[in-house]
Structure formats: C-alpha cells, structure tokens
Symmetry: C2
Subunit: 134 residues, 2 copies
DNA sequence: CTGAATCCGCTTGGATACTG
DNA sequence: CAGTATCCAAGCGGATTCAG
C-alpha cells in the first residue's frame, strides 16, 4: 500500500466508471433497471412460464415482463423455449451464465435482508434532521 | 438433483419479490437507477468533492450527481460534510453502512469483469440467430 | 466551488386492444 | 396462453441559468 490516496476498499478498485467504454457501464445499465434483477431472481427460483412470472412479480406489466425477458435472453442470461403448441407453451430458464450472475448477486440480496432495517432507520433520522433544520 | 421444481439456488431463496412490502423492492429501486452504484463506487474510492466526482463519473450532470448523493445520504449510505467556508467546500464519504453495501457489491463487480466477454459474445450469437430466423 | 432552479425532450413504462 | 402494437402520461435526466 503506497501513501497518498491508497485507502481504497478492494471492491472499489475493480472497475473504472471514468471510462465510458468500461464494461461496468453497459452491465450496470443492463441490471440497473426496475425489473431485471427481479425477473432474474424469480426465473432462478424455477418459475418458468409467462403467466406464472407475471403473477409472481407483483406489479409488473406484460410489456415489461416480455421486454425484460428478451433483454436477458439477448445477453445470454436466460433461455426461451417455445414448444410451438396450441395453446402456446413457452418456458424460460437461467443459462449457466445467468446462474453465475445469480451467485454474484447473492451477497447483495443478503445485504438487503441484513441492513434493510438500518436503512429505514437512517431514512427516519434524516427526515428528522431535515425537519429540525427547517 | 431431485425431480420437480425443488432445485432452487440458494441465492434465489433469500428475498420475496412477490411481496410488494418486501425490502427487496425499495432497496432494488434505490440502487436500480443509472447513477447510484457508480456514485457509491467512486465515493468509496475516496473521491470526496463535488467537482471531482463530476469529473470522475463521465457523463453525469450536476443535477443527477446532487440528486443521487442526496438520495444516498438520505438512506444513510454517504455522509455530507459542509465546511461552510468561502469558497464553498463540501466533502462526501461513505458511512460504515455504505461500506458494507460496497462489500456486498464486490462479487457483482467481479462478475462483470469476469463475464463481460461472455455477455458480449452471447449478444452477438443472439443477433446472428435473429438474422437467420428472419 | 457547490448547488438550486428552470425548461424541456426523450425515454420509460402502464393500460388497452388485438393476434395466433 | 403468450405476445405484439399502439397510445399516452409521468418522470428521468440533460443543458442552461442563477445564487451564495
């Protein structure tokens, strides 16, 4: 560790957002929307069919579900299997690549569980501080 | 591997997106925007001042930088220290809570580095498949 | 230097109706 | 059941301007 600015956490040194061409940008865009992580999660749970997914992910519209699934498919994270039957039957599943992403997301979900309470409280404290300042 | 649906990855069992009141929803919303993760990352790197941050995070506007910092502050992830001097001097830093989130994001950043190439290739393959189908 | 405030275009995303 | 297409409102977010 050298002197100057060096106290950089390990996790912060890995990507370079300064560079617009950096993978972090487009990858962050892919998962940085309202539904991708949720869909990834539920598909990872083994929910495979369109209707089931829509019922499981409360609040998602058909449009966004399809759109999100297509994006995930286009990026090699989920597979889409159309049985070409009548009535239609389509099944989605995670690819091996998608599963590795799921694994990488594990700590994040764990953090959410663990620290959600702390965030809520911090939010309350902040609101109080704002009120006092005003 | 058992037969029916039971093969649920460990990471997929942790949160319940079905429940609109589930922490996963609001937490996912907080980080699921264009800039939050980036700002969190750069602040984690020790970049503390407004101007520096804007220069480091290519493409971010003053408006979004301030807005994002305020949101992170309101959720207890970063601190804002105003030195109340002329000219103005303000410094941002991660809270301990913010650092734990950074830690939880480490595997995700690592995944991005590791599998970015695979995603790009998958994207190419998908495009080819689309072209052939058409 | 830090940042608040305004204007405004573009995208996001929901509701609905329609197809196979 | 699965999915597309269209319409349209809301808000995200950038550029600019003003202030302390």
């Amino acid at each position: 560790m050298s002197a100057t600015t060096s106290t950089v956490p390990a996790w912060a040194a890995r990507v370079d957002p300064c560079d617009a061409a950096c993978p972090s940008r487009e990858m962050l865009d892919l998962i940085g929307d309202r539904w991708s992580l949720l869909v990834l999660l539920v598909v990872g749970r083994g929910v495979r069919r369109n209707g089931e997914l829509k019922r499981h992910i409360g609040g998602i519209s058909q449009k966004m579900l399809t759109q999100t699934l297509r994006a995930l498919e286009a990026n090699g994270l989920v597979t889409r299997h159309d049985f070409a039957t009548v009535p239609p039957h389509v099944e989605y599943a995670l690819t091996p690549l998608g599963m590795t992403l799921g694994d990488a997301l594990g700590p994040l979900f764990h953090w959410i569980e663990t620290y959600h309470g702390a965030v809520v409280q911090a939010r309350g404290d902040y609101a109080v501080r704002q009120a006092e300042a005003a």
